[in-house]
Symmetry: C2
Subunit: 618 residues, 2 copies
């Protein structure tokens, strides 16, 4: 029996014992993070599926994994053997977990209500609420049971909650002090009449406190909760005894303490807040109105708080931090520019090495290439690791938008066709995310045409000029139009916000075929990454980060436009020039010329000469 099928069968035994009709395990952690530490790789533990987005539902007669088009191919490679069905999300006719459960036949003649068990620690209050609403709306008789960490009893050697050294960032790097950011939250409390706000999303906590850690791969975060009242701030962060005094952490914690932030055990989060809501020992000065964001508040913590809270004392709403965090201040923008300059040098050196090495006939596989790129970034002062796992993908590998490059037996790069590299770095002064697709030798006409159409979309969006109030979903078509005209498309979003030495994916703005109303604002940094994927053949994606900037004001209103942050040339050799408009050709030439003029002075001579040629006008 397949190891995963076996584990699912163990779960089913447990469910039968306890009378659960369905178990929902979400691919997330107690902070509803997109990426999470190995402790919460529960979906992977049960199904073998390791994509970044995947939720599992197990019933007596069905096990299903819900994920989006980025992972359809990867999912279909592991799920069948585990006996898990793939449920496609983000499709026009997708049936999401709440609707699926509400329409599911749990057997005729079953007595009593349907019991839906949810691992409340790994999923948001909002997502459990959605199940609740759907069941109610469908008129089902049901009960939702919270089973936090239910896998603990089956999962031998489950990793502990990580606790890595802490680093703090000064105002010279973030542009705002810890106290300024705490005051931003206090102003929010004052204006809304709340007594406290609990930050549950890890990047929000890191942003407010100007702290970073390494608790989650690629995401410089510290697993913790932050409660801010008008007078106090409580940081629930200690996972072990006391932070070891022999690491840099000790000093860093001191710095946070000096700003009046109390440091408390992570495990006590719920109990401490309940205490504060009950007014402490003397019954005075308690929290009467606590503001929480249902999209990142885990259901288990909600249950703890709700059990003791007075009616109306838990106020749910969107956290004010994401929007404020997304609009980078001038110091952050300067840091991001620096990060892109350094990252661009590393990328150009990498692409130079790649071309020379492959063309000279030396054996290089996808993994080697990723390692070489890492070695270039590693030399940069302030480099703190990749911002996500490098996708180093040659030919058919690149047809998987979120391909995982294998360490062993990775495909070898041949001097023909297209190679795609999607990577990014975390630096003390910013975060990068870049994709370049480059020819390793001769390309087919279809490869060139696809390469050009995707590039047209990339440029079209980058050149956009738009009035204040415009949302990313209203511009998304610009990145797709050239492909659509040829009846081609890509199944992922066109762009995501990028944090400042924080998560490489952040909201609230995005470019996507949805109805996200968040307007784009000057200071926001968003990726522009259309692509195309030909299963079994190749994949193409062109990605740069765009900074939204002021474009002037006139009688028609306030105008905004974009400025590319990414500094790495776009290879023009596969471009079918006749498919570009004059405007697109001019943009491409100017972009490449800009890359050369900014980077050339800092590149090794042979790379500079090579780049000069690469950036010749088309």
């Amino acid at each position: 029996m397949n190891i995963y099928a076996d584990r699912i069968s163990q779960v089913r035994s447990l469910m039968r014992e306890r009378g659960y009709d369905a178990l929902v395990i979400t691919g997330s952690d107690p902070h509803c993070s997109e990426y999470f530490s190995s402790r919460w790789c529960q979906v992977k533990y049960l199904s073998g599926f390791g994509g970044e987005a995947g939720d599992l539902v197990i019933t007596e007669d069905h096990a299903g994994l819900w994920t989006d088009s980025r992972y359809f191919i990867a999912a279909s490679q592991v799920l069948p053997e585990a006996g898990v069905a793939l449920h496609k999300t983000r499709q026009v006719d997708s049936v999401m977990i709440p609707q699926w459960l509400s329409g599911k036949d749990f057997g005729e003649g079953k007595e009593g209500p349907i019991v839906i068990a949810v691992d409340g620690r790994s999923q948001s209050y909002g997502s459990v609420k959605a199940i609740d609403s759907a069941m109610k709306e469908a008129g089902r008789e049901y009960e939702i049971v919270n089973v936090p960490d239910i896998l603990d009893e089956l999962w031998e050697g489950r990793p502990p909650i990580p606790q890595t050294p802490l680093i703090t960032l000064g105002e010279d790097i973030t542009g705002e002090s810890r106290l300024q950011r705490l005051n931003f939250l206090r102003k929010f409390l004052l204006m809304n009449g709340y007594d406290a706000v609990l930050l549950t999303a890890l990047d929000e906590v890191a942003w407010v406190l100007n702290v970073r850690g390494n608790d989650i791969p690629y995401n410089p975060l510290v697993i913790s909760f932050l409660l801010v009242t008008m007078d106090e701030a409580y940081w629930f962060v200690q996972k072990e005894e006391i932070p070891p005094s022999d690491t840099e952490s000790a000093d860093s914690f001191d710095e946070v303490l000096e700003d009046g932030v109390q440091i408390l055990p992570y495990a006590d989060t719920g109990a401490t807040i309940v205490d504060l809501m009950e007014g402490g020992e003397d019954g005075e000065g308690g929290i009467d109105k606590l503001f929480l964001d249902p999209s990142t508040l885990n259901y288990d913590l909600y249950c703890t708080l709700n059990e003791h809270a007075l009616p109306g004392s838990l106020v749910m709403g969107g956290s004010p931090v994401p929007l404020r965090k997304a609009v980078k201040n001038p110091v952050e923008i300067e840091g991001m520019r620096e990060a892109h300059f350094e990252d661009g040098l590393a990328m150009e050196e990498f692409l130079y090495w790649l071309e020379k090495t492959v063309q000279s006939g030396q054996r290089v596989d996808e993994w080697d290439a990723a390692c070489y790129l890492h070695s270039r970034r590693e030399r940069i002062d302030g480099f703190r690791g990749e911002s996500f796992e490098t996708i180093s993908a040659y030919g058919p590998s690149a047809a998987l938008p979120h391909y995982v490059t294998p360490m062993e037996d990775a495909p070898v790069l041949e001097p023909r066709g297209l190679y795609l590299c999607d990577s990014g770095g975390q630096y003390l002064f910013g975060t990068t995310d870049i994709t370049r697709t480059v020819p390793l030798g001769p390309c087919t006409y279809e490869e060139k045409e696809d390469y050009t159409l995707v590039l047209k979309g990339h440029i079209h969006l980058a050149m956009a000029v738009f009035p204040k109030g415009t949302a990313g979903c209203q511009l998304d078509v610009l990145a797709r139009e050239a492909l659509w005209k040829k009846n081609r498309n890509f199944g992922h979003g066109t762009g995501h916000g990028v944090g400042f030495y924080l998560c490489v994916h952040e909201g609230p703005q995005e470019f996507r075929q949805n109805f996200n109303p968040q307007p784009l604002l000057p200071g926001m940094i968003t990726s522009d990454e259309p692509g195309i994927y030909r299963e079994g053949l190749y994949g193409i994606r062109h990605e740069s980060l765009l900074l939204c900037v002021d474009g002037g004001k006139n009688e028609f209103g306030q105008w905004y436009c974009f400025e590319p942050m990414t500094l790495c040339h776009i290879d023009t050799s596969p471009v079918l020039v006749e498919l570009l408009t004059e405007e697109e050709r001019r943009y491409l030439n100017e972009y490449n010329a800009g890359v050369y003029s900014k980077l050339s002075g800092s590149l090794p001579e042979e790379v500079r000469v090579w780049l000069k040629k690469k950036t010749e006008r088309l």
Copy 2:
């Protein structure tokens, strides 16, 4: 004293007498219609503002009119003298009526709750609910009082509810019989477990019953409600005794009766439904679940029903009719093609006459031009009148997107600059809506540049190819991009759905900078009408109707595109060719060639020869 200021002052006296702190009068009728008969021109009666969209709030110290950018200029011409302030809607920072009321200071030390009076007959349940929610959310102490037809006692000679002759349409014209459409509703009831649905929107009633009338100018509607149960259909339509037997109506009513539809007095709508909900006299077979659309159910009728309904028996939701009605069937599409063919002939004859007459030095004013166009349409068999009031606008007049051409002293057309005509016809077999902007002589560079940029947007949208699931708001940018690039814009939506011999504006799809998620579907007919408006100078708009059609299927999914329905050439003489892409130029040439080839055989010889020249390749 200004007559409107005087009326508002009378209203204030009445409000003081009855203790109302605010009175809300919506510019609509008991069916929440966009256009309505003179009986419900209440906003105009009070403020002098006659735009199609305008809502009024009167308090002791403020009178305000809420309207959108189409009417800013018109509103600013009449409101100041009436002492009414303009509140702009559809702006990024618009404060709508509910928010305005909830934030309004009604005077310190006022005793008791704030009393908000609403004319429930002239506004939707949804809009009153929005006021209720906003007041609740703001923590105000308030009370909402329904004051249906409150103006009755002040308004001398208020027009009665109209009752015009009825006509019925056969299956050969609509493609579906009355019974088929009733069955569509009964299937909806069955699938959802409802006992009845009440149609409150007039075009929905007309569509289901295959009836038309003339109760509202330009909208071939019959003021009535339709209640459909599994076995019965009740049409609340009689405004007087009995339909006069000497008009075509008598026969038409017979036809509807023969299909098992009961005809009842309009005034009895609420009482009859209450009766049916209470199960009738024998207490059996009553309506336990009644489905209603809160967006077109008036608040007064809601109050009547709610007073007698058992909890849970009124189910609110979006009516299933608009989407089904928007997707035209093959017979309707054929009819629409025929309407556009006939309408195109009339338009070409009009444009020919216009050019010749103005250039010959004859005196023609805007009103004369509109009359001549009417005379061309009037000759068409099946013409039932304009589909909205013709906008015949020369020079600065056209800068008002919804200009009303005055019957007397209309501006005279001179042999220079641009003339804009936005008009449409109602035909027994379809509805048209077209805008053409034409030069009457030499144009300035700015006029030509604006003309070309707007045309680029019009063409860009018309050429769109897009995957299944795409909504109009996701394509809207295509119509604006060329203008945006030059920091220019227009303040109205880009396109609206058009009915089949029904309202010229219908949902649910549209092209607009909003977040309306309704996907475009084959069979939908939507206008494509970008524009630009230069106050005091000129206005430009290019409008054709687009039919959404199947664009084939491939490995990337199902594709859709558009086919222009409108048949009238676009004048190429003001076009700055160098601003068009090759693709746009090709589209324009092919469109004009198509117009010529389809219409030329049916045009008078001199018009044909002229059109041949007008449609020469650019």
